[in-house]
Amino acid sequence: MRFSYRNELSELETLAQNLETFGDENDVNPAIIHAFNLCLDEILTNIISYGFEDVTEHDIYLEIHRDGEMIVATMVDNGKAFNPLTDSKDPDLETSIEDREIGGLGIFFLKQMMDELDYQRMEGYNRLTMRKKNVELPD
């Protein structure tokens, strides 16, 4: 399935609805849909918040499908180059309230929750693919 989003934070709600539809139609475990919702939300939020320096409207594209046991989602945008695999520092989870830094968690979720991540920068586009195995629900 293909979806597109404008660079506005209200689109996060639309993303959630789209993923629910995808999950229902492809018989995907709701816990797996939640993982994709969270990870795609974090990426979409980053793109909308930091990806564009102008204030004009931009489209961000999502393609998601089921390939046997695997769920595969690719998000594509023409914002600033950003490789989440290398351009983000993991948070320190052990510090106290006072020292705990605010931020860095979004990308950390992707690394923790997805089975595979793949980033490419091509012809002015960021292309991030995430894969995670579905977990069958008991009948």
Binding site: L9, S10, A16, A31, I102, L105
Partner: protein, 111 residues
């Protein structure tokens, strides 16, 4: 997202309903900042009807926790659904926030 606020004795209970993401977290930030400014040190965030939280929501809760700490106050959470709880666990936030199974337990602990 809907936010409801009530006060029980000295405890301010902030109930969240819906989705706490980058598009809605500003609303919670305003509510919690208002409590900090009013010098209200005891806050319970009731998550019984909270369907979803992203790092933007965690960011607002952490910023508030830092403020309440300065007031020598406390902020606790109750009734996290499994998705919300998982996000707290991955983030290491379960060791930053006191989290209770029910609102009643949380109120008792804060009293």
């Amino acid at each position: 997202m809907e936010i409801n606020q009530e006060k029980q004795e000295t405890i301010n209970i902030v109930s969240l309903k819906g989705r706490l993401d980058a598009g809605t977290s500003g609303q919670l930030e305003e509510s919690l900042n208002a409590l900090v400014e009013a010098g209200e040190p005891k806050v319970l965030v009731d998550c019984r009807e909270l369907d979803y939280i992203s790092s933007a929501g965690l960011r607002v809760l952490l910023a508030a926790a830092k403020q309440f700490k300065k007031l020598s106050g406390s902020i606790a959470l109750s009734t996290l659904n499994p998705n919300v709880k998982q996000v707290f666990e991955i983030s290491g936030f379960t060791s930053i926030f006191p989290i209770y199974g029910t609102r009643e337990e949380a109120v008792e602990a804060l009293s």
